[in-house]
Symmetry: C2
Subunit: 217 residues, 2 copies
Amino acid sequence: MSENNERAYPVPSIRRLPLYLSFLRQLRDEKVEVVSSTRIAEELRLTGIQVRKDLAMTGIVGRPKIGHSINELIGHIECFLGWNEPRLTFLVGVGHLGTALLGYKGFEQENLNIVASFDNSPEKIGTTILGRPTYDLKDFAKKAQEMNVKCAILAVPAMYAQETANMMIEAGIQGIWNFAPVQLFVPEDVVVENVFLSSSLAALSQRMAFQARKNEI
Amino acid sequence: MSENNERAYPVPSIRRLPLYLSFLRQLRDEKVEVVSSTRIAEELRLTGIQVRKDLAMTGIVGRPKIGHSINELIGHIECFLGWNEPRLTFLVGVGHLGTALLGYKGFEQENLNIVASFDNSPEKIGTTILGRPTYDLKDFAKKAQEMNVKCAILAVPAMYAQETANMMIEAGIQGIWNFAPVQLFVPEDVVVENVFLSSSLAALSQRMAFQARKNEI
């Protein structure tokens, strides 16, 4: 394997790819077939250079003046992200947030397939919640092995987040999508991606308060 | 008003405050009454200096050797974030994600009160979804004025995000919590905070793929 394949891609570029996808899918729905990187840049408030670099990262070859085939772009980006085939995922913690995530069908478009959820509440174990079986948290490792699941969504209360993450990692989980408002300790080879909704809300609240004070002056 | 009150606080500090809150509430539930900034730093994998700076930002005075009263810390942080009183919010777009957000009771803890939702689907208008009335999107401005709502959650499909944001801003909305995968154009005095779940998922997918390639070598 060449050294090139082992490098980490720039995270801001990675994070922009779903925004491209969303725009490209919209164009596809409108039966548009070809788009230029300039048009994409305008729509997403980016520079042409950023867009060309991001697209080049996914292996797309530039076609100046001609524009890109939209289907080809979508295929390339989905493939680059590994979203062209279903990825099995477990969800742990069927509380308010976990249930909200189970109910969110947007993940299906990204081929993220939440196949089962886990909880330790006797009232939930054995039931089917939003189409997914809820198993006893104790059976997590067994099920992860049986179904060869390597990715898990963590949606337990903050106080149980670290111990639950430890359990997941022991069960062979390699990537944790963490929605608990906790910085997790994990081994180097385990990937954690945090979504701290309350941090986002804090930023919104504070910036609104700042703006309101500015307007008062 | 002093100049001090008008400065913008550092966003990373703001984003850390909810993590402190989460840990402090956990301690309170465990009947702990006092905590040192060193203990907080250890728990959240931060430096003592970061924690002391962040807490000082909220107006908390350091108490070396004695430690902070947990109730006082919680009160200070909640007050600083404006989370000590209910903030009325509208939600626009009762699709999959919108419904998931309506169903997420975690916001109540932050005193974010989603009082109504809006959609343009005739099947949804007039119904009550998860306890909130669903109004016609056309009535947004009228309702925002009636209820004096300044903050809105945007959860419409990407292709309608910009026009919906425009409509919100015309109706006097000052802060948009945007869950649509779109960079919005807004006037300078309107605050937008983005939650791009698909960007977070892209980062997770890519970093897992990178790690897997590293492990293969």
